[in-house]
């Protein structure tokens, strides 16, 4: 194997947390030292290597040290211990904005940023049009960047960062700000860079894009490396652990008269095992556990499935199915069997609602309280929310086979 593009060896980074942000000489002299602070290790002993040409994802909860690590890679921060070696020209796009000067125009900032990233004036002249075209900001390029929206900022920053043709590109969380069209363009650009053998390190909370883009993923937890490996494995582990926490926390809303209760909802795979995620196209059983101290007449159970954006995907219920039980008392469960899950990869929120027969009075409504993931399966479609399960037929082509 060739030399790794990035080597992180035993990196530890310490921050100082000042208790009073009193950076004055007076305070120092009085206390005979600088303001009191606590030490905080944002990274401890992190090591990994990235082979050239890989797309590498960094994931972890807020504050787990992802941005800190990326800044160490970019040489902006110097770790207290350990070393970082980056082989080749590096370009970084960290958080919002790329270090633009607000009073200067977009054009001047492109030249300045290009120079910081190591381009000569001649290189920049040659690439200027590409940069502007990629950012799509032709009309605004001569106005001061302080008037830009955050999306415009990122567009321009990203356009510069990518057009310096870095051998190693670091991207922190910024792409989420761009609109759909720009994200699409970025995805294409990433693909192009990857095919050109460039190394990319991405930090994001958008698991879908990590899953799609990355070969390898590192999971950080409180500044330590929790997991490192192929994208799918690490992300699944991470989501499982997050979901375990999330269920305990209990998300969503709940209301109702309380005569009966939806105790919990289980997701079961083909073998009857409880799962937290399923593949597109696999069978799934949604099991709703109910309890009623008093008998309740003609209860109607409904389910709801929402995307995280709040779009309702579906909402089956017992009344529409013509299966309303006459009465229910004690404990029990109702299964909803899905032969082939038509949902495309992503995270979905399930709701379970127990109503009286007229569907006017909620007995127990647990809205978007059960979170669930769908991962890549069959068919391997990407776009939208569901698959229609359609098949293609090429027989109509002239030389169709």
């Amino acid at each position: 194997m060739s030399r790794p593009a990035v080597v992180v060896d035993g990196v530890s980074k310490r921050y100082r947390l000042y208790h009073e942000r009193n950076q004055s000489l007076k305070a120092t002299v009085l206390r005979r030292r600088r303001a009191r602070y606590e030490e905080f290790w944002a990274l401890s002993d992190v090591s990994f290597e990235i082979a050239p040409g890989r797309t590498f994802g960094l994931i972890g909860e807020n504050g787990s040290g992802k941005s800190t690590l990326l800044k160490c890679l970019a040489r902006i921060l110097r770790p207290e211990r350990g070393t970082v070696t980056v082989d080749g020209r590096l370009s970084a796009l960290l958080e919002l904005g790329a270090g633009f000067h607000p009073e200067l125009s977009g054009r001047e900032n492109v030249y300045l940023n290009g120079a910081i990233l190591g381009l000569s004036r001649r290189d920049l002249d040659a690439r200027f049009d590409d940069i502007v075209a990629f950012s799509g900001l032709e009309h605004f390029i001569d106005t001061p960047v302080k008037g830009y929206s955050s999306g415009m900022y990122v567009r321009l920053g990203f356009a510069v960062a990518i057009n310096v043709e870095p051998e190693v590109l670091l991207v922190d969380e910024v792409l989420a700000v761009g609109d759909a069209e720009f994200q699409q363009r970025c995805a294409e650009k990433f693909d192009e860079l990857r095919r050109a053998g460039r190394t990319i390190v991405i930090v994001t909370h958008a698991m879908d894009s990590i899953r799609n883009l990355c070969d390898e993923v590192a999971l950080l937890e409180h500044g330590t490396l929790r997991a490192l490996g192929p994208a799918a494995t690490v992300i699944n582990d991470y989501e499982d652990s997050v979901h375990a926490n999330r269920r305990a926390d209990g998300v969503g809303w709940r209301w109702g008269t309380g005569e009966a209760e939806i105790e919990r909802v289980e997701f079961l795979d083909a073998t009857g095992r409880a799962v937290t995620h399923v593949r597109t196209g696999d069978p799934l059983v949604v099991r709703v556990h109910l309890a009623a101290a008093e008998p309740i007449e003609q209860p109607v159970l409904g389910l709801g499935v929402h995307t995280l954006d709040g779009v309702q995907v579906t909402g089956p219920n017992l009344r529409e199915a013509g299966l309303v039980p006459d009465r229910f008392v004690g404990r029990g469960h109702i299964d909803h069997r899905i032969p082939r899950v038509p949902l495309l990869p992503g995270t979905y929120d399930f709701s379970a609602l127990l109503y009286d027969y007229t569907i006017t009075r909620a007995v127990d409504a647990r809205i978007r309280a059960f979170r669930f993931d769908v991962i890549h399966g069959d068919p391997a479609e990407e776009h939208g929310v569901v698959t229609l399960g359609g098949t293609w037929d090429l027989a109509g082509l002239a030389d169709g086979r």
Partner: protein
């Protein structure tokens, strides 16, 4: 990366930063670059009136130039002083003003101080050109001394860079360095022979029965030597006294080395502290 490539890259970046500094300095002001000449003109007018009309400070006659003008005497010391004071003030702000850049991209941060110095150097050179033209037009043949003048400017630039590097990074850690320096600069201005000749400073004076070598102490200040050097070349048209020149040069080198060393030491945690 080879150090040659790195060097070339940094030079290019420094040039860019200087340009940015020059552009943003007078952006959206009606007079634009005109301000950079108006400021010293106003200072000359004010000090000229106060010190030669009200206080009647008599300028020494230039030897061998034969110049006898308080305003020219003043300007020959004021321009180098202004360069020093402007770089000091600008350095105090430059790191905080560029916090955004420091937190987001990597580059040698010394370049930020170098860039404000560079921008002020450009202004300074323009002022010196104007001064040279005026001197020549009043019959003082300063042209042959221009190489020496440029040498002095180079040495002075090392001095102000050293001071600027040290102060810029200190001000990030102790934000009141800036306010403190406003006082220091005011005191320094009057302890440097800009508005009066050195000859007004007594050699010795008895304070509380103790003989104090006032002039000796006075001349320990490298800025005094700096002004003396410039005045010798511009006003008197002669090479500065060798001792003064050597003192100025050595202190500039020490200052530069010390400032750079301090900067490099404190720059490790700059991105967290700005």
């Amino acid at each position: 990366m080879t150090s040659l490539a790195e060097y070339r890259r940094n030079r290019e970046l420094a040039a860019n930063l200087v340009l940015r500094e020059l552009r943003s300095r007078y952006k959206r002001t009606a007079l634009g670059y005109g301000w950079s000449l108006l400021n010293p003109l106003a200072a000359v007018a004010i000090y000229g009136v106060v010190f030669s009309v009200f206080l009647k400070v008599a300028p020494p006659v230039g030897d061998p130039s034969g110049l006898d003008s308080f305003v020219l005497f003043l300007v020959c010391g004021l321009l180098p002083w202004n360069y020093f004071a402007n770089v000091t003030n600008a350095s105090l702000d430059v790191l905080l003003a560029n916090a955004n850049l420091i937190r987001k991209v990597y580059f040698p941060r010394e370049l930020l101080v170098a860039s404000v110095t560079g921008a002020l150097l450009v202004t300074y050179l323009v002022e010196l050109v104007v001064l040279v033209v005026i001197l020549v037009s009043v019959g003082s043949m300063v042209l042959p001394w221009i190489p020496v003048l440029l040498l002095l400017v180079v040495i002075q630039t090392l001095l102000v860079l050293g001071v600027g590097l040290a102060l810029s990074v200190c001000n990030v850690y102790f934000r009141d360095v800036k306010h403190f320096m406003a006082l220091v600069l005011m005191a320094l201005f009057y302890s440097v022979p800009v508005v009066y000749p050195v000859s007004l400073v007594p050699k010795e004076r008895t304070v509380l029965g103790v003989e104090v070598p006032v002039r000796f102490l006075y001349e320990l200040n490298p800025l005094v030597r700096m002004v003396e050097c410039f005045r010798a070349v511009l006003y008197d048209l002669r090479f500065p006294p060798l001792g003064t020149f050597a003192y100025f040069t050595v202190s500039a080198l020490v200052c530069f080395a010390g400032g750079l060393a301090l900067f490099r030491r404190l720059d490790r945690r700059l991105a967290e502290e700005v």
